[in-house]
């Protein structure tokens, strides 16, 4: 049999053409029909996102904005007011207590909201990082209050700080000898002690 010395090249070219055509075909199938090549996203995704179940409710929902049972959220309103007074006023309750959907669904309480007393919770936002501005409060053993009380990073933050209004002493809690004594002017109405 006498074959052309280039026949293998021709076959290779055919193979490469098949690969390219295959790629184009798979690409055609893989690109979603609602793909918008101007803005580079799938237009249908907007509708799909709307259908996703809601997880977060925002701080209003903690105040019972959509609750029928206003009695049971009374305590939350106090907390909301406390948070609103202090430096944590910009925070979302759900940062520390988990998403609303894990707590309430269909206007019914399904589980208690999470309460996390670990230091990690606070250090998520208050650990020292260079990217945080100098004037943002970051945990520092040398800071006045901490230095005075020998606070280490492992010491429970909640022993002293109220999570809802961290400038205030946590209510109740152990009375270690070094804890500052509250004077009458410093004691606020809700039993928390002004530091």
């Amino acid at each position: 049999m006498n074959i052309s010395p280039r026949s293998h090249i021709y076959r290779l070219i055919v193979l490469l053409v098949i690969v390219v055509v295959g790629f184009v075909a798979v690409r055609g199938l893989a690109i979603p029909s609602s793909w918008d090549s101007e803005n580079f996203y799938r237009l249908d995704s907007l509708e799909e996102l709307k259908l996703q179940p809601m997880h977060l409710g925002g701080n209003e929902s903690c105040g019972g904005a959509s609750c029928h049972d206003q009695e049971r959220v009374a305590k939350h309103k106090t907390q909301l007011a406390t948070v609103g007074r202090g430096s944590h006023k910009g925070l979302a309750c759900e940062n520390c207590h988990g998403p609303l959907s894990a707590h309430v669904s269909d206007d019914k309480k399904v589980a208690s909201a999470v309460i996390d007393r670990e230091n990690k919770l606070c250090l998520n936002c208050h650990a020292q990082l260079v990217s945080r501005p100098k004037d943002f409060p970051q945990f520092d053993t040398e800071a006045n209050g901490h230095w005075y009380f020998d606070v280490e990073i492992t010491k429970p933050c909640l022993d002293c700080h109220s999570p809802h209004n961290p400038r205030q002493m946590a209510a109740k809690k152990d009375k270690s000898k070094k804890q500052p004594k509250a004077t009458s002017e410093q004691t606020s109405t809700n039993g928390e002690v002004q530091l």
């Binding site: 090249i9 893989a30 940062n95 936002c125």
Partner: protein, 390 residues
Amino acid sequence: MLPNESLLNYYFPNEAEVHWSLMIVIYPYITGLVAGAFVVSSLYHVFQIKAFENISRFALVAAFCFGLFAAVPLLMHLGQPFRAFNIFFTPHTTSAMSVFGFVYSSYMILLMVELWLVYREHFIQKAKETKGMAGWVWKSLTLGVTEYTPEAARVDHKLTTFLAALGIPWACFLHGYVGFIFGSVKANAWWATPLQPIIFLMSAIVSGIAMLMLMYAFIRWRTKKPYDFPMIQKLMVFLWGFFIIDFFLEALEIIYVAYEHGHHWSVIGPLLSGPLYGTFLIVQLLVLSVIPFLILGYITIFKPWGRLLLYLANLASLMLVLQVLFMRFNVVVGGQLISKSDRGFTEFHWEFFAREGVLPAIIILSAPFVAFYVISRFVPILGDAPEAKQ
């Protein structure tokens, strides 16, 4: 608390983690080995450097093996590896990475075609000898053309030379591109320089040549075959040449920024005297550069022979392979140590077992060698004697 430890209403850059981790360190490293090994094979095919005749095929196979795994670190790094194909299907022209996908895959195709031409004679011979399933595999590799005529060999030779010639700019493009990806990040003082692609390219060639030397010496030692000393000597001369360009470009870049004392220096100065002092200045620029530079200079000028040449060449190659690995680390991780707020430096935390830890990095880095071993079971890679003509 919230899914993925996310936070609401809180927006300072969170730099507790360096996001481009070890995987992004070894990705340009492996890509560099591809480009470097390919250049060696082209030195013979295109530039007719006869000394490399015996290793040109070996260099090609090695380049292919590294190429197979060049994208694996990226897949490991992606949180959603199954979406990797999206950059091929809907590439955006403003994304450097999506164009890289095409550069890389076209380069791999070029490499495979060249390898196929080089090994066609072997495939045909095997297809004739082997029966059964294996025979069919060999046959499919020949694409059904089971005659190897002298005319066809001439055609192959021409095409191989053409592909090797095309491959050089393409390999430069491939690796220059990796440098481009970093060099074009204008917000990062440590990366943003138009020299970055050239520096990456030169260090790629250095690491590729050095790695070939180590592999060659290892294979020869394991198989108890004689060493091709003229080739080693020549290879080291080239290694020296490329390394000089690489090293001085890199040093020039630093000296330039230091002398200019512009706004970049206010970040780079503290970076070099702080977090990168050990890994960049001491290890990369001093120990792993000056010593191999002197060794290679000695080899080039005084032309030692025999055992001495072998030991010196291996020592220098080993140091340069590490030098380039350190360079990748210092660029990729070093750049990210600069806080995005420019207020100072963050820290890199080493991990071992994690998805992007040291262990996966070691596994991925050794995969090309395993692939090489497997391939070498099926096709001849290095000739038997140094003089053997294939």
